[in-house]
Symmetry: C2
Subunit: 239 residues, 2 copies
């Protein structure tokens, strides 16, 4: 199953940068050179490079070229830069993980919940509270609202394993856009009760609004992280 051309080129260049075939501060070959190398149009090369820019791998300058600005940041083993489920993260890092369900109930969105989640009033949702354990320590508390019409058939068992795995494998539902907001808040009694705070009197609160391919906001989640193992990366390009 061949991917698209520009993705192939993008991944090839990306790998060559990661392996220092193209080194930090070096210019990539010119677009016209790459056109010959990959036997494609200039547009296609430019799409590939646009993706590298977006990833913070290169930076272009008019009339000069695309310069590598990627540095190997000893891929931090901790959470979390992108959209990755807790289970995936834990498995990728070979960490013991466990999820305990605190609350599992079905509700109808009322004025209060609407205010808080922006889900339309009257919609039926699953309301789930879970505590995530890593290497035996409770480090995250998740409070989810899932639209029942999109995330049909959730159960406590699924919530203990991986809701995302269920959604993608069973229901063919995927997160397409995730909007997130991060703040640091004082711990609550709930935090104190359920999380291993290691002396911190604050938690990192990540509020997410997640949209599926149909543009429906089917999930609202508040994740409360213990400060110790929370890492966030981002990169921005200004034009």
């Amino acid at each position: 199953m061949p991917k698209t051309k520009y993705i192939e080129i993008y991944e090839d260049l990306k790998q060559k940068i990661e392996k220092s075939f193209y080194e930090y501060q070096q210019l990539l070959p010119s677009e016209n050179t790459l056109v010959k190398e990959y036997e494609c149009s200039r547009n296609t090369v430019r799409r590939a490079i646009a993706n590298l820019i977006n990833d913070g791998y290169v930076q272009t300058k008019h009339g000069q070229g695309a310069r590598v600005i990627y540095q190997d940041f000893k891929q931090n083993e901790y959470m979390f830069g992108e959209t990755e489920s807790f289970k995936e993260f834990a498995q990728r890092n070979h960490k013991k993980h466990e999820t305990k369900v605190i609350t599992f109930e079905e509700l109808t969105v009322d004025e209060t919940i609407h205010e808080h989640t922006r889900m339309p009033i009257g919609v039926e949702v699953y309301h789930i509270k879970r505590v995530r354990h890593l290497e035996g320590s409770p480090v995250i508390m998740d409070v989810n609202y899932f639209r029942k019409d999109v995330a049909k058939g959730l159960t406590v068992e699924i919530a203990e394993d991986s809701i995302y795995e269920y959604l993608s494998k069973e229901l063919n539902q995927r997160a397409v856009t995730a909007k997130r907001k991060m703040v640091v808040e004082r711990t609550t009694d709930m935090d104190e009760k359920y999380l291993k705070l290691d002396g911190f009197n604050s938690v990192v609160v990540v509020t997410s609004h997640i949209f599926n391919a149909d543009g429906i906001m089917f999930e609202h989640t508040q994740s409360r992280h213990t400060p110790g193992n929370f890492v966030f990366f981002d990169q921005t390009q200004r034009k």
Copy 2:
């Protein structure tokens, strides 16, 4: 000074979405319709839409169209989502602001500093520590390293006002790419001494690597924020 066509279209569509001319959950007109409306090629329309996707304003689906997923999030007046200088931020929000310089020295990068900042050994830098005050409260401690060959002629006076203003106006230097990492750490004695922590025993530490148009990493900054007024937004699209 006319901007480029696709930026004009992008900004026009963006504004129409913000003003609910195109409403939440509604489909934009088809690309071919927009081609007629803006009298341009389809590629140009597609570039404009690609930018809207990147901003989390719309989401496209093959064969269907571009659906508006923008919701007005009562633009939080607090810090910080994008690359904006402290002075700009304070002025935009009509807040009283002040910057006090704690340390201002010139150094040569040695092994230790290199390890910490990734700046090349032997390069001369300004090393600056500053405390930022908002409405009279000390809320951020910045520790900067600026390459002297790029940020020529810095002074304490400039550091008390705005280094970025100086760089852009006097030296015509701009931040093109910013890579950032965020963690939450225990407060240090320095934090306790200089910041108004309001009972928090943690600070948000943002480490930034900033590149200019020539691809040179000319600034390394560690910003230590009091938790109370720290907000961060982001959005990601998955394909």
